[in-house]
Symmetry: C2
Subunit: 361 residues, 2 copies
DNA sequence: TTGTATGCGTTATCAG
DNA sequence: CTGATAACGCATACAA
């Protein structure tokens, strides 16, 4: 490739700058700048001329130059494990909507449940091109030093869903404990006795919270907790075979579970996929309930009930909190944890079972 | 709020700059800059010192300053109507994956099917803070002058899915014609005679392509096209009531259709939702097939078949094309339109009908 | 091999 | 009311 740089410059559109306006109008750049910002110390006549010329030539301030000067980019970073996950895409939807209303850009990156990618994603934009960060940590992440450092350096951070307890900043989560408790309770009320749980690694806050709810529901109803019925998926269900393995283990159990509680979106989806390939009907062969935010779920009369998180709202709340910090309407020390309620959608065959169970009472 | 600006400066972390390193080491900024870039004209000793100091103090170049200097931001813009739509979230997934591999940031904005928002979203980042744009136009957009202007100004643009014919640039689409043709054919083969179509406005390329496929399949099989059976949703199904209205119109038809072809993700989903509220079972009362990329669809033994677009791949291809243009590995005049195949997933009751139809042949 | 000066586009400070 | 100058952080042409 020959003189690439020069060619680039030739080809690329050169937008009009303040300097161009100044030259064309025989003014100084500072006058033009002030006129454009409608400063009171500029004569109406000059203002008119400048504004007119700017309008006609479609002048737009260069956001990058502004960012350099103001040391703020008016953009925020969002890191989630996966965009094409209905829960996270709904969260992002909420974030974007508030960001848009406030003139902020949203830069998105996926960790794909990999700690390494999370760090890499953090590094570049983090250094100085984003004003704040909304993050849901990956299943793989155990070492949060990088985030801690960032936080100490005063980067505004808001955690959504998968939070880090040790870092004191704003957090937005669903009421995972209650959600899991009610889900497990529902299975119990349907008549199931041996209820297994498939969950993400214990390193994730959501796993701990949901597992606690699951356990409480069991003990509150006089069912003993069997650790053999609790299975962890290290990669959060990103690797299909992983879910397959734990399900196989469960089904091979001498004392096979009669129901499963899936503690995360991806796990729920993959569980269903497995039962499909095994040609097992759910919940005739096995009862199942899981966290899920997939849109179509409620439409297709699926064979299971789901716990749904207020994803869009969580995104909105997270972005609002982040804005408060960025625009320092709120000191960094005054942080809070917002807990939003989950919703349980009871339907399909579980519903019938549930009704039957109620009848016999 | 008192001296906000000053407070901001105090609070905000000031990252280390080249200037700081130079001062600390008693060197000039240019020497430091060159040492960091591993220039050959710097002595190994100096390099070592600089690199060591930079490492120790966790120096990171300021991306914004770099952008200003190099007149490129290493970030691209993506505009879709809705992120929380499984098709688009999968496209974005593909875009992000290629962008990440090449060190690009992805800035996302939603038009929410509104032309006004599309323009507004375009304006800010477009001016100079993105190096390229991937866009899927909104249902509302009829006037593409803004995009044309952008294109003339040499902003690299790639269209995905919903393209603009008049603008000569790279385009990535699914084979909508064939997808719609096969979908309609499938309904015909299932024994349906009066097949309605619910579609987005004709202004969208996908609507035109899909409707053409639908019509061809009908005429090829000796079925007359009935314009009363073709219904348009001006807001692309974003407004639920809109879909409800057209479905009601169809069902109120003296000569009621026995099947429906839904020509877009959102329309398919909302059709199902309507039949659910009407307590109509699909396809016992009415046959239905539609475009849909929802993940769970294949898992729940849904009552319908779907046409699926290769969303992730479309995103990947779009980003690769965009990179070629941005890094001028390819002249702007040499553009191409990539057409990727759709996939039809036949299942549920439609499958049984289909099998029965085949038997009787 | 290193340093000085300049510019990227903008705004703020100070001077006129 | 307006203009010259410096600065934001970095890279590079030119000097030494």
């Amino acid at each position: 490739m020959f003189n690439n740089r020069k060619r680039l410059l030739e080809m690329k559109f050169e937008a009009i700058t303040i300097k161009d306006i100044a030259k064309a109008l025989g003014l100084s750049t500072s006058t033009v700048s002030r006129a454009l910002r409608d400063s009171h110390e500029i004569s109406p006549e000059t203002k008119r001329i400048v504004l007119e010329y700017a309008e006609k030539n479609n002048y737009k301030p260069n956001p990058i130059a502004l960012s350099l000067k103001e040391r703020r980019s008016r953009s925020i970073g969002v890191i989630v494990c996966e965009i094409a996950n209905s829960y996270f895409s709904q969260v992002i939807n909420g974030i974007e909507s508030i960001a848009y209303d406030n003139g902020y850009n949203v830069i998105i990156a996926q960790s794909r449940e990999s700690f390494e990618k999370e760090i890499l994603n953090l590094q570049y934009p983090t250094s100085r091109s984003i004003d704040g960060l909304i993050i849901s940590v990956s299943t793989e992440s155990k070492d949060f030093n990088y985030l801690k450092e960032l936080h100490q350096k005063k980067m505004p951070i808001v955690f959504v869903d998968r939070i880090v307890d040790e870092i004191e900043t704003h957090k937005v989560i669903a009421d995972n404990y209650t959600g899991a408790y009610n889900a497990t309770l529902h299975l119990i009320e349907c008549g199931y006795k041996r209820i297994a749980a498939i969950t993400n690694p214990f390193t994730l806050s959501i796993s701990r919270e949901r597992l606690a709810g699951y356990k409480s529901a069991l003990t509150d109803n006089g069912i003993e907790i069997d650790d053999e019925l609790i299975k962890y998926c290290q990669h959060g269900g990103m690797v299909f075979s992983e879910v397959q393995t734990v399900v196989d283990e469960l089904l091979a159990n001498k004392n096979r579970p009669d129901a499963i509680f899936a503690a995360a979106d991806k796990l729920t989806t993959n569980c269903l996929r497995i039962f499909k390939t095994k040609k097992m009907s759910v919940p005739d062969d096995i009862g199942i309930i899981g966290f899920s935010n997939i849109d179509l779920a409620e439409l297709l009369n699926p064979p299971m009930s789901v716990i749904r998180q207020p994803a869009f709202e969580m995104g909105e709340v997270a972005m609002k909190l982040l804005l408060q910090v960025i625009e320092s309407k709120r000191p960094v020390t005054d942080f809070e944890t917002k807990i939003l309620s989950t919703e349980m959608l009871i339907r399909g065959s579980t519903k019938k079972l549930f009704a039957k169970a109620k009848e016999t009472v």
